[in-house]
Symmetry: C2
């Protein structure tokens, strides 16, 4: 009996979760393991959101409309207006997290076997959604050396095939922290319009830009109304990952009509959180100011820590709360495991995400890790100090093994 489908067999399990058992064991041995591996913000969910959830008072916890509650769709439209993004209520469908928005985007514009162009390293769950919808993610590599900027337009254009239906970007980027300049988006727009394909822009980290940098939405690029599909979510914006409230939005009526069919097939997104989400959208944007200052301090703490490790390559990222670090070692997965099984510095260690899981091309990212900075600065400083010590120590161990290997061969 063939127990499971080929696609289920071939689908990658979460690459980040593999290390969890080692972290659990390390903690049992009394090691303090700082989590630098997750995208779950530690910032409290804003009180107005929590209050709105508490105040939900309908007698029947009923389905919400498949498009989302009217009041929430209107709130999102207002939010976009305030962000100078041209989207009306009719262009918006509330989704069960940004994950479902990606899923709807793939389903709506791609048949099985179609291609979507992505830039590696990329958010691993794009892989999951691609698997589920039978599409192929074709990856162009971006590099630590230039801060993971997009490749030149001619390289992008050459990667377009007759099967390509869209270019998918995450901006600000998870896992690199890169914020794409307007010029890069204009390049994508040029390619999309010339080849009559879409740009799917995952902008769930929209507010998270540092050093005074302004974010540019794909919908702020001229002439992109019919070619742009926006992915959004309140998860990171309002520290409300567990609410599972996202958005798919486009001015392209055919795309939104298609998405509506898929939205109807799953009936609705959770109802109570839609009340919470509205309360979030109604908050004054000044809410973000202290939070961005905090994240910028954290980003700086990460970079200061990395400066103490010899031979790492990492340009200062300007957005989201991630950074990909190229290490002066060979195998980041072994290193990440070693951190939990064989290392501690004054009783501390760190849990990091090996970056190979963020690449589609085999062999890429083997010496890279992703660090999430969702820890308060004091802890983060200690975590980064620990990581720097570990990198320097592991580098010597690898060099020693190399020397031994050379001696054995010699």
């Amino acid at each position: 009996m063939k127990k499971i489908s080929t696609r289920a067999r071939d689908m990658q399990a979460s690459p980040i979760r593999k290390l969890i058992p080692y972290a659990v064991a390390a903690r049992k041995r009394g090691i303090n393991v700082f989590p630098l591996n997750i995208g779950q913000p530690d910032i409290p969910t804003p009180a107005p959101i929590r209050e709105a959830i508490k105040n939900f008072d309908q007698e029947v916890l009923a389905y919400s409309p498949s498009q989302g509650e009217d009041f929430l769709v209107e709130s999102f439209a207002g939010y976009y207006r305030n962000n100078r993004i041209d989207l009306a209520a009719e262009d918006i469908i509330v989704t069960t997290g940004g994950s479902e928005a990606i899923f709807f985007a793939f389903l709506s514009i791609c048949d099985a076997g179609d291609e979507v162009l992505v830039f590696e390293p990329f958010y691993t769950n794009y892989n999951g959604m691609a698997f589920e919808t039978g599409i192929t993610l074709k990856a162009l590599t971006t590099y630590a050396e230039d801060g993971f900027q997009l490749p030149p337009v001619d390289i992008i254009e050459k990667a377009i095939t007759p099967k390509t239906r869209a270019i998918l970007i995450c901006n600000p980027n998870n896992p690199t922290g890169t914020v794409y300049p307007r010029k890069a988006l204009e390049d994508l727009a040029y390619v999309a319009k010339k080849h009559e394909i879409y740009v799917i822009a995952d902008e769930v980290y929209r507010e998270f830009t540092y050093d005074g940098l302004a974010h540019t939405s794909i919908l702020q690029i001229e002439g992109m109304a019919q070619n742009a599909i926006l992915i959004d979510s309140i998860s990171k914006r309002y520290s409300a990952c567990g609410a599972r409230i996202g958005v798919i939005a486009s001015k392209n009526k055919a795309v939104m009509g298609a998405c509506m069919k898929f939205a109807q097939a799953r009936l609705s997104s959770p109802t109570v959180e839609q009340w919470g989400a509205r309360a979030g959208m109604m908050m004054d944007p000044s809410y973000f100011e202290p939070i961005l200052e905090e994240y910028q301090r954290r980003r700086d703490a990460v970079m200061e820590g990395l400066a103490k490790a010899e031979g790492v390559i990492c340009k200062t990222p300007t957005g989201a709360f991630y950074v990909i670090v190229k290490l002066p070692i060979k195998d980041a997965e072994k290193f990440a495991q070693w951190l939990l099984t064989d290392f501690n510095h004054n009783g501390n260690s760190v849990l990091v995400a090996p970056a190979a899981g963020f690449y589609a091309t085999p062999g890429m990212g083997l010496n890279e890790i992703r660090i999430s900075y969702v820890l308060e600065v004091k802890k983060l400083k200690k975590a980064m100090e620990t990581l720097a010590v570990a990198i320097n120590q592991y580098k010597k161990i690898e060099e020693g093994q190399n020397n031994q290997a050379c001696a054995a061969n010699g």
Copy 2:
């Protein structure tokens, strides 16, 4: 530019929603339109569930584990134990509604092009999930005349092809209200084991059986542990459709391992409602007694009303809160529209679901409607009286048109 995918183009929009604009217009003209078309219970969500949601007090509304919160998985395991269904915590994944459970089941055991055997009429959203996963639903017809019982085992067995991966049932059934006797499930088990395929059993209406009838779960059939996949949800059980909390469960570890990968790809189900759902699972089963009595009274009101319409075929259903009625007319879709555009009885009319949308075979169910009885008895009696008058009246109109047509031809 090919704007949307072929699958998005070909996917059916919700067949029930087509009539909504007509209902809105009728209400604007002052007609009182009783909704007999929806599956949204009107019973209040139990207070413990609403209280648990109100009492959610975590500072960060964080992702829950992809499998579901430990406490909820344990609560479900306890609920199954109380229902003499052998499922442990490790056999259970919390899903975002029963919809996602179906989706995971299809993904986990079927590749694109594989077949799942269903019995029409069936819940339309199975179509949506089949479209999304690229599988083919192959339908065997069941009939109003015998209360939509499953076909004999040899008919079922003949429908199995090398591509068949599962038989999907809904028990108690939406849209027919049929509760399958143990013998029918044993037949399915025989076929499943002989042909090494699965039975996916959607048992979200488990508690909703009438006339003292006991429900039999597919997992209570001997030897089915490895071949059964259970779909479940709190939506109907606790009048909590908007919570989006369901379950997929199986003793088959390969299947659950596959489901876990898909669960990780969408990160988690909504967190707050998991606290609510636990409160529901902890309620004493006596909670259901008055509710089932109420639904049984409603079912009886529906049958009494139908008795006043001439020529309808409808065996008394014994479960869920739906009934499929075969009408003495030709075109139930036109009838349903006419109810809203041209008919009223003392200022009342009804909104019903034409049943053709619940069939996969073209031309089937054209003279059938689905009635949901989620209205209080007093209103339901008036709605059914209105429907009976309408059926009798429309029948005469159709007969008149036929006579005219005959005269014109003669």
